[in-house]
Amino acid sequence: MKNRSNRIVGFVALVLFAALFTLPFLWQVSTSLKTEDQVGKSEFDLIPRAQTYRLDGSDVEIKPVERKGADQVIEVLEGPKKGTRLTVAPDSLKLRPHLEWSNYSGGFQAFPFFRMLRNTLVICVLVVLGTSLSCSLAAYGLACVPWKGRETLFWIMLATMMLPGQVTMIPLFQTFKGLGWINTILPLVVPAFCGNAFFVFMLRQFYRTIPASLMEAARIDGATDLRIWATVVLPLSKAALAVVAVFSFIGAWNDFLGPLLYLMDDDKYTLAIGLARLQGQYSSDWGRMMAMSVVMTLPLITLFFLAQRTFVEGIKLGGVKG
């Protein structure tokens, strides 16, 4: 009985928090489906609406065109009188829910979406591969192999995160320039194959919870370290590794500054730059920008939804231990 009420409380909390956390996305979706004359409204309204006018006994959607004295000129957008312009009193207009998809079609035309998508995907896939591989190897070296100097290396690695990137940017750029990598994706991709302090640290924490007895047992069976890494550690840390993959994908997908600094051609730019270009210096088309934000967010949500299975199906260590 107590158990049951606990579960109900838990579920209600879940729903409440979910509503709270979904709000940014819902608002983004809602703005992306609003007409221009509704985007600027001050009321917080999650339901996209369009103005309607009662014409021949039915409400038809209209678009406000201009002002005429105290009245408004409107254009009828649907029904048999589609396209006609009428002069009406402002208070004869009403609102009704309406989805404005033109922000999406316009957004796709605003920049070469598919070329940018391809550029972005190439970088993302390489970054995910490089990060997962190099970080899990390094984390094994730091967590599962006892050797003199590993604490020092760990602290050096951690220390590199503590210096703000703004002051190492220029020498780093010159390094890449010296390697002839400017205007290629190499500066964005190769460092991923050389470990990432954040993920190495993360995996190290997970690997350290793996019972040493499991690895010892494999070693007694004659397994090499590489084999232990591949057959014992990796399967046991599937959840953590999936987190690394998802996080590093998201990082590369949303990275704006890296591609902007190292790539020099419009042809090579990524979606994050395309999205940034929808925001003008003094004036922005918010509907279109939100539409493209949604388009950029959807693949990440899908990826997360699919990958989360791994987060929770990580092998129960207790079971293995017996």
Partner: protein, 291 residues
């Protein structure tokens, strides 16, 4: 022992290579810059410790340190607590849990600009949902926070906003919770431990390595917080959200003082290092690795 040394080196070799190839040189260079007058576009000129001396006299520097400490002290513990709470909620066996997990993760993938624009509206003192909620709780109008329009409330506003990203931490805790063997819970329950005790004595110790990780990363990231203020407040009102790294960025790229900015960066490095070592030391007793 020797063979283990080389094994360790071998596994860490990509990491070591990366440090040598892409990190060592820029780091040394930036330390050299901190001893120079370096207007970015002209070569650096050695000026000794002048930049460090100037720092001590820079009101904005002290101001930005204070702001940043407030942010770290507020956002890191709260963020971890919210993240842990979310993870516990998400660790339930209820219908649709996969969808819930995805929803909680949403704010961390929404592009920053879209998120910022939304929060400017949510935090609006007159019409924003946050204050509407406070009105529901009958908070008197004169106590109503002015959030981003008020120098006293802008930083709490940004901290509140940062909690929205707690879903990222929750995912890590969730991954760690999967490793908590259910027998341990059952054993604890048989011993008569209530839910609070089970949480304190079973759950927390078992996910402590991940808590340590998110704590340290929160610390390192919090001290370097930049983007939200850069996009939403530009440090205002009245410098109340002038983060350390925003001041550093302005010094480097709008005032052409990369030498000064580098000195700031190294001071921050020292601060973060001390904080990290302190947390690591303090946690040694509490973090439990192998079971």
């Amino acid at each position: 022992m020797k063979s283990r040394f080389w094994t360790g080196i071998a596994f860490c070799s990509p990491l070591i290579f990366g440090l040598l190839a892409f990190t060592v040189l820029p780091v040394i260079a930036s330390f050299w810059f901190s001893l120079c007058n370096y207007p970015i576009l002209e070569p650096p000129h050695y000026v000794g410790v002048a930049n460090y001396r100037d720092l001590a006299r820079d009101d904005q520097f002290w101001h930005s340190i204070r702001n940043t400490f407030v942010y770290v002290l507020g956002s890191v513990p709260l963020g971890m607590a919210v993240g842990l709470g979310l993870a516990l909620l998400l660790n339930q066996k209820v219908p649709g849990i996969k969808v819930f997990r995805t929803l909680f993760f949403l704010p961390t993938v929404v592009p920053l600009v879209a998120n910022s624009v939304l929060w400017i509206r949510l935090l609006n003192p007159q019409q924003g949902l946050v204050n509407s909620f406070l009105r529901l709780l009958h908070v008197p109008e004169s106590w109503m926070p002015g959030w981003l329009a008020d120098e006293r409330w802008a930083m709490p506003g940004l901290i509140l906003m940062s909690l929205w990203g707690a879903g990222g931490g929750a995912v890590l805790y969730l991954a760690a919770l999967q490793d908590v063997p259910s027998e341990l819970f059952e054993a604890a329950e048989l011993d008569g431990a209530g839910p609070t005790q089970r949480f304190r004595h079973v759950t927390i110790p078992l996910i402590s390595p991940v808590l340590l990780f998110t704590g340290i990363m929160g610390l390192i990231g919090g001290f370097q917080e930049f983007a939200r203020a850069f996009v939403m407040t530009q440090g205002g009102p009245w410098d109340s959200t002038l983060f350390y790294c925003l001041h550093l960025f302005n010094s480097a790229f709008t005032e052409f003082r990369l030498g000064y900015a580098s000195a700031m960066a190294w001071v921050l490095f020292a601060i973060i290092l001390v904080a990290t070592v302190a947390v690591m030391r303090a946690s040694t007793k509490h973090v439990q690795y192998e079971q």
